[in-house]
Point group: C2
Chain length 212, copies 2
DNA sequence: CGCACTCTATCGATCGATCGATCGGGTGGT
DNA sequence: ACCACCCGATCGATCGATCGATAGAGTGCG
């Protein structure tokens, strides 16, 4: 059994939720994509919303653990920041569907599941915020209103999922490196900018999401 | 007659599409919000999709004319870029609902209406792209892969609609000025950075969308 | 003026289709 | 004999959309 039915359901949901949105995806669409009857779906997914919540918790969890692993033990603020950016960008480029679902469908979650997802996202953003603050204290960064800069950079990097195509001319490393430059420049880091360790970031993404 | 029924329908659609998405908003939701029966809706909106398409065309059109007005006659690339950023940010901060609908619901449009919207968006992005290219040629900007930088900056600035609140501590001018700095730094503009003419940008937004 | 007619704006009722979800009944491996 | 897995049939609710009808504000004519 190469791919289990449960796995097919999960993949169908990620694909369709990303492409048509939660409310735009019907139970029968999911069943067809997963090659199952609509009744059999319920053996795996609970409700449709449970399925969405599971995807979001899982994807956000992987993003968060990935970020923690990528910066573990790194003290230099610029290197930390560069790695956070690269990990974020690589994740969004390699898994645009999961990240689109996470970014666009929070609003459909009812309050219970919403709280868990928002908590994960806040923990993730806190990693960015603390790194920026540390860089400011160390004199490595220079930006007023660091919270605004954090929001801006997160939106910038997350946008990758909306336009990057793996079939394009740009490699993952070029993409991630370029975004790291943009972010560090925006933060007012001193030139010349050192590129973050992309090998580590790529490896962390592979350890969290599986090999490419 | 202070506000016509047609106007109420339009406003209800903008509000609900932004908050719950196109597929998450029912005809009966629209009717209740617009204080009309669901049957009367059809006197004004054509189909539900026509209503969405109209909102998107109108909002994108205003953004595009605003941008053209804001940079008309301006030759200095940094000033042009700063104005484009400021106009974009101010628009997204002042009309988060319209811009959210434009940014998030393109996928539900059927091919006919989709084409018109995508064409408008491409024309808008071309304005950014040409300004960046001009800045590179003039030696005012220094960035590899300007198309990637353009995408990144557009996503960064558009993200404002997802988090900015007019009730927060940040004024529109501070917000727009801050984003202009971030964008110009990312583009590798020479410090010290001159702030764009925010008065003009604010006035243009008011001329296109009405006074605040 | 008064009457017939038209047009806009609105409604309650209802259409066929589709929604998410459930039920009871298989089938096949252990 | 059990249990995980899967399905056809079907549920009540809701979907987007349309129906025929009405109230009221004009409009043209004798």
């Amino acid at each position: 059994m190469a791919v289990t039915s449960g796995e097919r359901v999960r993949r169908a949901a990620v694909k369709l939720f990303a492409a048509k949105g939660f409310h735009g995806t019907g139970i029968r669409d999911l069943a067809q994509e997963a090659q199952l009857s609509s009744a059999s779906l319920y053996h795996y997914m609970g409700t449709k919303e449970d399925l969405l919540a599971g995807i979001m918790r899982d994807s956000l969890g992987r993003l968060l653990t990935g970020a923690e692993r990528a910066v573990a033990g790194v003290t230099d603020p610029a290197e930390r920041m560069g790695r956070l950016v690269a990990l974020h960008v690589i994740t969004h480029a390699r898994r645009p569907e999961e990240t689109k679902v996470v970014d666009d469908e929070v609003r459909v979650l009812s309050s219970g599941a919403r709280r868990a997802v928002v908590e994960l996202r806040d923990a993730y953003e806190r990693l960015w915020g603390e790194t920026i603050e540390a860089g400011l204290r160390a004199g490595a960064f220079h930006t007023p209103r660091p919270e605004v800069t954090r929001k801006a950079l997160l939106e910038m990097c997350g946008g990758v999922a909306r336009w990057y195509s793996a079939r394009g001319a740009l490699s993952l490393d070029e993409l991630a490196g370029h975004y790291a430059v943009l972010a560090l420049r925006a933060l007012g880091a001193r030139e010349p900018l050192a590129a973050p360790d992309l090998d580590v970031c790529r490896a962390v993404v592979a350890s969290v999401w599986g090999p490419a």
